[in-house]
């Protein structure tokens, strides 16, 4: 009757418990409590939301462990934190801090321009961003137990999250219609491990939980992503860069649960105050985009 910890079932399982929920970026204890009270299923503890990382420029790194610990003490829901792409020592530190999930995130400045972290080496589970099925399955191959779209963080423009969700889910629809003998060629084409391509075809879905992220700013945005077929939603700058964070947070939580009920969506969309100002991704210089980070 020996207990086994940090198994693949355990890592994937926590993400399964987050499904149908909203994971909110928070930068301090006050935000974390607002998020929990609004019904967030988890929080992402970070020093600056993506909109501020964009505005400030410079190198964006892992947050101060003390700030993450304070948020872990303040809420009962799971706490996630971000490390830089390829920065396995930041990940080791976050694991030692005791966070429930690590986001190896393109929102921070990459530490390695060729390799991601070998996430199977860790006891703590990881979530990673993707733009298409090949990228998603490369991350799962490295040990990511949860996937999210990259979108374009800190813009309040949902267009990239839609593009990435449609691409990933469209890739899966194409894959499920393929003959088995075509899977090796397809694996080569998208640069993904054959075994995971095969598993995805058999399941008819991503082999791990698949959330939307990057640019979600309104209840309608969140419900749009759910109707497209993701399992849940991350909201970063969209809540705490808006006029009434508590009300907007609660409205987005309700919108994700009742994503198919337009009358509830209409009700929760009323009188939310100012949305985050937002930046139009189509007019943004390529160098400012974060979604291209990741290999």
């Amino acid at each position: 009757m020996d207990a086994k910890k940090s198994t693949w079932t355990e890592k994937k399982g926590l993400a399964q418990m987050l499904k149908g929920g909203v994971i909110m970026d928070v930068v301090n204890v006050e935000h974390a409590k607002i998020a929990e009270d609004a019904g967030a299923c988890a929080v992402m503890a970070l020093e600056r939301v993506p909109a501020d990382i964009r505005a400030d420029g410079g190198v964006a790194r892992m947050s101060d462990p003390d700030m993450i610990l304070k948020i872990m003490d303040a809420v009962t829901i799971p706490v996630m934190a971000k490390c830089r792409i390829g920065h396995f020592v930041e990940a080791q530190i976050l694991e030692a801090v005791g966070v429930d999930y690590i986001d190896e995130s393109e929102v921070l400045t990459p530490a390695d321009e060729a390799n991601h972290i070998l996430k199977h080496n860790f006891n703590v589970p990881f979530v990673c961003g993707c733009r298409n099925l090949g990228e998603a399955l490369r991350r799962v191959g490295e040990g990511a137990a949860m996937i999210r779209t990259k979108g374009e963080a800190g813009t309040g423009d949902v267009v990239e999250a839609v593009r990435h969700a449609r691409t990933v889910l469209g890739d899966i629809r194409k894959l499920t219609a393929m003959a088995d003998e075509e899977l090796m060629r397809y694996s080569k084409e998208i640069g993904a491990p054959y075994e995971l391509v095969k598993e995805t075809k058999e399941l008819g879905r991503m082999p791990v939980v698949n959330f939307a992220a990057g640019g979600v700013a309104t209840p309608a945005d969140a419900a749009l992503m759910m109707q497209l077929g993701v399992d849940g939603v991350f909201v970063g700058s969209g809540i705490f860069k808006s006029g009434d964070p508590a009300k907007r947070a609660s409205a987005i939580v309700k919108a994700v649960t009742h994503y198919q009920d337009a009358s509830i969506l209409a009700e929760v969309s009323k009188n939310l105050g100012e949305a985050m100002v937002g930046r139009n991704v189509s007019q943004m210089p390529e160098a400012e985009k974060m979604a291209g980070r990741g290999w």
């Binding site: 355990e10 926590l14 872990m72 009962t76």
Partner: protein, 192 residues
């Protein structure tokens, strides 16, 4: 027979898959009227604070309380928390089962674990003699039970992880995350 699964947040799709394997009619429950005509309800794993908040917002908490006075309800993990009378903190609960629950009783995610449990009542009800492989994720424990509550399973150190009070069932672990449907079969025996 028709079984509802509370679909506010969490692992409701996994419960639906298990019930479909047992060829049971199912429905997702998000609003009070979705409880009409159901013979039983499962409250899945997920975040109990999220589910409680959403249940209160759409009058589902009271509707489930009324439902549970006449019909079976099974709560897994967050669902067990919602069924309980006492979690030592202020959050919306159904308060239907006379059990005291402690949330996140084992620590954080890296402390989550899988273990085989000997559950005599499950073996008796289903006729299968293998131990039950239980998956615990940031799990609660049942600290104490009142009169009329039967303890179904405990860890080797004695901590209670499954209990039944009449037709109400609480498990700290997640039968919906394994392919073993014995717990779902057991719950169906509590349904008329």
């Amino acid at each position: 027979m028709k079984i509802g699964v509370l679909a506010l947040q969490g692992s409701f799709a996994e419960h639906l898959v298990a019930l479909k394997k047992l060829t049971v009619d199912t429905t997702e429950v998000r609003l009070p009227e979705h409880l009409d005509g159901l013979d039983g309800l499962i409250i899945p794993g997920g975040e109990s604070t999220t589910m409680g908040k959403l249940a209160v917002a759409y009058n589902l908490l009271d509707a489930m309380k009324t439902f549970g006075q006449r019909r079976p309800i099974w709560g897994t993990c967050a669902g067990a928390i919602l069924l309980s009378k006492n979690v030592s903190r202020d959050q919306p609960l159904l308060g239907l089962m006379d059990i005291k629950v402690r949330r996140n009783a084992f620590g954080r995610q890296v402390d989550s674990f899988e273990i085989d449990l000997d559950i005599p009542e499950l073996k008796q009800a289903t006729g299968a003699q293998e131990d039950y492989h239980a998956v615990f994720i940031r799990a609660p424990i049942i600290e104490s039970v009142g009169e009329g509550v039967k303890i179904l399973a405990s860890l080797p150190d004695g901590r209670i992880v499954a209990a039944r009070q009449g037709r109400l069932l609480a498990t700290s672990f997640h039968p919906e995350l394994t392919n073993d449907t014995r717990f779902h079969e057991y719950f169906l025996t509590l349904v008329d």
